[in-house]
Symmetry: C2
Subunit: 254 residues, 2 copies
């Protein structure tokens, strides 16, 4: 019986709270932990994926946490003054605003490397490979965003979709699901990343809302959620909790 | 018969020149390649180590390049205005000075991730594990350097020694040398990293020169080079080229 998302989220929270960072990082630990706030959408998705195929959930936690640390790394660097210049994040000062730019650059670097260390605790390098591929896509997306003029679909696929896919795929690799069973999961993950992003644009009133209007974006949400559910229905696994994640992402208000 | 260092360096140069970066990185490729100049000390050390134990040198190139990319990543971020504020590097504008801070942050991130992608081309995750451990040490060292008041030995071990060790250890892992044979190599690598750093301080007139004077630092160079050679002599491998690397590092003038 798969665990509901609130149980999975609680597991992620306590794992992250107790996560031992490299002791030599010293004073970088505080800004790194400051950066680790959030809704845990990606790590919960990672756990729910592995849980759906019957894996031992505790064994998935390093992979789930690795995905969340990559997400945090990207926010810490993207918030920097020379990039998005965001001094607030989740109602608190962003890392650079609280700890200074130098520390934010190094704390972001350290979050990325700690993420990979977690991914490398598995015997297979595949978990870490998924994460590096997704991270390169995110970095490329951020650069394209700075340059401007790039298509929205492409930008969202790089900046958001890649890490959503990695969350699902890392859950599968950590659960030792063989590669031949991955394609329908990858298709599901792609829809889920798109769904998350369109709802994000609705909440922020930008992106797709600027392209197709608010009603158009709401229709896109419904269509994408439907496709995600259809993909899920094709998969031979206990996908009820994943289906509830699709529903929740479609109606989220924050 | 191990190859001399100039042949190894030529192999590194042509491998790096032809290295395919993730195509989605687009305009980040130019600043990343700009960052990849240098003397190739670490990748040559990596190749010479694997060559000394009889590995096929071409198979070591991804590991050697990964070490060099981590080195480049660290320089790109350390040069940033909020960190060391260096606008020049190797007689040319540093990455941020030429391409702007935002691009330098992202290019540094991308160099680090590409390094790990290369390390992850091996079946064992051990190459990537060595690199992540060394990278965390380097980040920690840079943070301690910014804060000041840290002991020089400790600082150098983190900022320089860790990646020298990783260069040797990645060469061994890529050559599939079993872990039980690693300890004398690790001891050799530690001396070599220290040697490199003392000579660096002599060339820059800082660090150890400030602590023990120029003559004292020269004595330290001789003692450290002697210990490195002694460590090497204990190892059952064809270490002539590595011995010549020790000699070259002890007398280098740039």
């Amino acid at each position: 019986m798969p665990r509901p998302t609130d149980q999975l989220r609680a597991l992620v929270e306590s794992y992250l709270a107790e996560l031992a960072l490299a002791p030599e990082l010293g004073s970088l630990e505080e800004p790194m932990r400051h950066a680790l706030g959030g809704k845990r959408v990606r790590p919960v998705l990672c756990l729910a994926t592995g849980d759906a195929v019957g894996a031992h959930v505790e064994g998935l936690l390093p992979a789930a946490a690795a995905v969340e640390l990559v997400h945090s790394f990207s926010l810490v660097h993207d918030d920097l003054p020379s990039l998005d210049d965001d001094s607030e994040r989740r109602g608190a000062p962003s890392v650079w605003a609280r700890y200074g730019e130098a520390t934010a650059i190094l704390a972001g670097d350290a979050l990325l490397v700690e993420a990979l260390r977690l991914a490398l605790t598995y015997p297979t390098p595949a978990v870490a490979r998924e994460l590096t591929d997704a991270t390169l896509a995110m970095i490329a997306g951020q650069q394209l965003d700075l340059e401007g003029g790039v298509e929205l679909d492409r930008l969202h696929a790089l900046k958001t979709g890649a890490l959503f896919s990695a969350a699902v795929m890392c859950g599968l690799w950590a659960a030792e699901v063989p590669a031949r069973e991955h394609p329908p999961w990858r298709a599901f993950a792609a829809e889920l990343g798109l769904l998350f992003q369109i709802v994000d644009d609705l909440l922020d009133g930008d992106g797709y809302v600027g392209e197709v209007g608010e009603d158009g974006a709401r229709r896109l949400v419904d269509e994408t959620a439907e496709r995600a559910q259809a993909r899920l229905a094709e998969i031979d696994a206990d996908t009820d909790v994943l289906a509830s994640i699709v529903d929740d992402l479609a109606v989220r208000t924050s």
